[in-house]
């Protein structure tokens, strides 16, 4: 076994194990932590594939922002655990069976006959001064400038959507107007009306 292979199997083991732990975890916060572990393993695998920039991005953006957002929402909503697992066990055996069949089938398609080392040879490692980020940036800002702009639109949608959906002070909400309160005068507050009391003769 080469060193590459040992690393690959170690990271793969953690990747698969923590993913399994994530889907079977009964506690949403623990599930997030397991998912973070599997993201770290995925990032390690990506580094083996010489995609350093994306591996770092995965950790910074995903673990640093997205997963924290998950944790934030879990803590904020204070989810009742008992209702969440009501249907859990019923589907489990069937789900595992289907998954096992799919994995076997996919392994047959993706196995050594199609993508083995003799068919797709491993490329030589890049030199030590190879910069993955330069290569990607070169492509991103030239060839992929159109998708790059589209990604900007996507982020704009995310901003508009999350503000539209969760901001609480609606436009027609009743709220204080400080300047009006300060400028109020006695005549605005007290209205003197003359009421004629009905006399006894009317009854």
């Amino acid at each position: 076994m080469t060193f590459d292979q040992i690393l690959f199997y170690v990271f793969s083991f953690w990747f698969i194990a923590s993913s399994l732990a994530m889907i079977f975890s009964r506690n949403a916060a623990k599930a997030v932590l397991f998912l973070i572990l599997s993201f770290f393993s995925a990032a390690s695998i990506w580094i083996l594939l010489e995609a350093e920039f994306l591996a770092i991005t995965l950790i910074l953006v995903y673990v640093g922002a997205v997963m924290v957002l998950f944790l934030f929402v879990i803590k904020m909503l204070n989810i009742d655990k008992s209702t969440l697992r009501a249907k859990f066990t019923g589907y489990l055996p069937l789900g595992l069976l289907v998954a096992a069949i799919i994995i076997v089938e996919m392994t047959l398609v993706l196995g050594g006959n199609q993508f083995g080392l003799d068919i797709v040879t491993a490329p030589a490692r890049h030199a030590a001064d190879y910069s993955n980020i330069t290569v990607l940036a070169m492509q991103l800002y030239t060839v992929y400038v159109y998708p790059f702009e589209l990604a900007a639109v996507l982020l704009l949608i995310a901003i508009i959507a999350s503000i539209t959906l969760v901001q609480r002070n609606e436009l027609n909400r009743k709220k204080q107007s400080i300047s009006e309160q300060v400028n109020v005068q006695a005549k605005d507050r007290v209205r003197l009306v003359s009421i004629t009391t009905p006399s006894k003769e009317d009854k």
Binding site: T142, V143, V145, L150, L154, I157, L171
Partner: protein, 484 residues
């Protein structure tokens, strides 16, 4: 790397409709912030103006020779331009209907129009997408805007549940689609549709390559079927249609179908056309299941939005049948069907919105009782819409089904055509049910129509078009055929 990159500023002119729309979105977004409540209608008019101008800009590009720009990720051909023009037209009609609904249900907010415009931008990107990457990004721009549009009715838990359902299933569908895309990329080595097409139509394609393309194809077809709402990936359609605010239901069920069909054409016809024999089999199964389930389950519905959802599923089945044929005329018939379906659907939802009153959703079939007595004109229009959906001549819905079946038969799938006709006849029953309650039952509640003139006028034109285009379908059919 650098020397292969070319950027020609003149090519920006070919993307002018998209560029204009994006700029308009930003302007409307900023302007909306400063509009006081009295002037909120300005957002609506600006939206309509942006759609109109974008439509005109796209119309001017019709007839431009097929050009691929932005490093092979954007294509401008007649299909793209014509689709964009139709998208703008249909969206404008949908906006006229929506405004009435939004004002009555106090959902009239500037963000609504901005999200609609953003979703239309996403559809335009999909229609012009010429690489897997741009198609995916366009799809996500569209989907994310639609999820938000549904959830914009923040006080209705039905709408929120619908949004969540749509969101989760849409995200899974995107995941499956991406897995398929990764396989296609892995075997062909490129994301561009033209490279993939060249790779797939290579005569010396080995067994290994064919296997992997087919493997990816299964995931791609599942992803596309999810987005179109074909059986067995339809589970989101009825719930989303029922739960969403009616104006959003109307929008989701109409215009995005053009974009979904465009994505289907770009990936499966333009890209993997050589693999037609493989994906047509999958499509055949999906189409038959959709037509059957859509027609039968719709019979049991009492909610008209849910009924229209199942009716949409069966229409999607017919659209997919057009792609099963594998010939250009079949694809043309499918595109014609999409346009006709949208025209009819818009009118149907327009009438539902017309019956809405302040704080009251007219979404039950029983709400149509006695419409003929109170408003004979709109009852007549609903009659035209329903007969058209059922496929009764001389309405336009007959010709769209007829063209599809004609192509299916000439491609040699006689049994398929027979099955489709049988279920079309079954589906006529529930359309007739609505006609029955309009004409032969008495109203149990007040159904006077108090909608503003603009919606009544546009709705009338929309319904008359169903009849007029039905009398002269040839021109539109030729137009649809010329796109391939």
């Amino acid at each position: 790397m650098m020397n292969t990159f070319q950027f020609d500023t003149a090519s920006l002119l070919l993307a002018l409709p998209e560029i204009f729309l994006l700029s308009a979105i930003v302007v409307v977004l900023l302007l909306d912030l400063f509009l006081t409540k009295r002037f909120k209608q300005v957002t609506y008019y600006l939206t309509q103006a942006s759609l109109l101008i974008t439509g005109v800009l796209s119309y001017n590009l019709i007839g431009h020779p097929e050009t691929v720009i932005f490093s092979n990720s954007f294509v401008l051909d007649d299909m793209a331009s014509v689709f964009k023009v139709f998208m703008m037209g249909f969206s404008m009609v949908a906006m006229v209907y929506s405004r009435h609904y939004l004002t009555q249900h106090s959902l009239f907010r500037g963000e609504y129009f901005i999200l609609v415009l953003l979703s239309i931008l996403g559809m335009m990107v999909m229609v012009s997408g010429y690489s897997l990457l741009t198609l995916y990004l366009g799809l996500e721009i569209l989907s994310l805007s639609l999820y938000t549009l549904i959830a914009i009715a923040r006080k209705r838990s039905g709408a929120i549940e619908a949004a969540l359902k749509y969101f989760v299933l849409g995200a899974i569908a995107s995941g499956l689609l991406l897995y398929g895309m990764s396989m296609i990329y892995g075997i062909s080595g490129s994301l561009n549709i033209s490279d993939i097409s060249a790779f797939a139509s290579d005569a010396n394609l080995g067994a290994r390559e064919t296997l992997i393309i087919n493997f990816g194809l299964v995931f791609l077809v599942i992803g596309i079927a999810f987005k179109l709402g074909a059986v067995p990936f339809h589970m989101w359609v009825p719930d989303v249609y029922q739960g969403s605010p009616t104006s959003v239901t109307m929008f989701i069920s109409t215009v995005p179908k053009i974009a979904a069909v465009a994505m289907l054409v770009r990936i499966l016809v333009d890209g993997l056309g050589a693999m037609h024999a493989y994906w047509a089999d999958l499509f055949m199964v999906l189409a038959v299941l959709s037509i059957a389930l859509g027609s039968v389950v719709a019979l049991m519905q009492t909610n008209i939005k849910r009924m229209l959802a199942y009716s949409t599923i069966s229409h999607v089945g017919f659209i997919m049948l057009g792609f099963v044929t594998g010939v250009v005329s079949g694809y043309g018939a499918a595109v014609f069907y999409v346009f006709v379906y949208i025209l009819i659907s818009l009118a149907a939802f327009g009438i539902i919105i017309l019956l809405n009153k302040e704080g009251f959703e007219a979404d039950q079939i029983s709400d149509f009782k006695g419409l003929s007595k109170h408003s004979p004109w709109f009852a007549l229009m609903m009659l035209a819409v329903m007969l058209s959906m059922a496929g009764v001549p001389p309405f336009i819905g007959f010709y769209s089904k007829f063209f599809i079946l004609q192509q299916v038969i000439s491609a040699g799938f006689i049994t398929l055509a027979v099955v489709a006709v049988v279920f079309a006849v079954i589906s006529a029953y529930y359309y007739l049910q609505i006609i029955k309650s309009m004409y032969f039952e008495d109203a149990d509640k007040d159904i006077t129509i108090s909608a503003p003139m603009d919606i009544q006028l546009v709705l009338s034109i929309n319904a008359i078009l169903i009849l007029v285009v039905g009398i002269f379908p040839d021109f539109w059919m030729k137009l649809a055929l010329s796109l391939f």
